[in-house]
């Protein structure tokens, strides 16, 4: 898995978004308008249709 850009189709919360993408338990960061944050610390945050988010997976090695 590598970074992925997505466009939000309708208004929703971060929690709804990660639920729909089956990323609730995945180690990821999100980037919105240049701001990077942990989704689970921003579950109630609202995002709007047309917003472009970047999903940044945290990747372990070794």
């Amino acid at each position: 898995m590598s970074t992925e850009k997505i466009e939000v189709k309708e208004d929703k919360t971060i929690k709804e978004l990660v639920g729909e993408m089956s990323l609730s338990s995945a180690p990821i960061l999100l980037e919105l308008d240049g701001e990077i944050f942990y989704p689970d610390e921003n579950y109630d945050r609202k995002i709007q249709a047309g917003n472009r988010l970047t999903v940044i997976p945290i990747i372990a090695g070794g």
């Binding site: 590598s2 990747i59 070794g62």
Partner: protein, 266 residues
Amino acid sequence: MRRLNRVFLYDDGAARALKIEEIAKYLRKELIKVGVEVRGNPFAFYLLQDKVSDYARKIASIKIQDATKKWSSEQEPLYGEIEYEKKMILGKTRASGVLYDGLELQRLFFEVIPGRERSLQFVHIVFSNRLFATWDEHERRYHARVNLCGIPSIISTTGLVEAPAKPRGYYLLRQQYEMLGKDLLELKNSFKGAFIDYEDLRLTEVMKGYAMQSVFYSLVGDPFCQDKGCRLYNAHWQEELIFAQIESEYEFCQRHMSFLEELNEY
């Protein structure tokens, strides 16, 4: 491919054999147009003195007590554990024998990085000698790791020794040595050079490749390469990592070399 603005290197009590300035020099050579800055301990660098105790408590609470039990936020650290972490932050001791939840550790580092520097255009790399692990949901246990790419990327000098598997023969003989009560140092010496050991003189050279994995994570979103001779190969065996980082005839495969050339042309 993303543009990179700057690379920051931090020292969270990494092994003495690790020469961070030498890694910075290497990165400056590979990334001609990207600034590389060496910072000290990330907590000491960013935190005001009165916050050190708070973070010492937070770090002490992410210790893994049992590798078969997933970390819980309800863990309450002991006074001695907090004091130990305070000393770690202030550089008065070095980690040994403690296992941390890697994702939680990374989250604590993330917290102290100012918002304006939380970007993939900035590559934050923390060299640490803390041993960290990530939870495997399928196997229901933790796995020790060498690196964890994110913001920041963390690279463990202890993980480099402990996480990638040593030669099979080593484990077989170790069982025999333990049963017979023989000196394990003797066994280690008989395998000298076959794996990276503590304070190994090859450590800095090996870590240059791991630093580049963090760079490529920011640059293209994927830190790894399938080519066993490329420094970006995700080695799970000591033999593989020594080959990728030291013995291979080339540093990077053609594909990753071309990314670097493109980056340096901007």
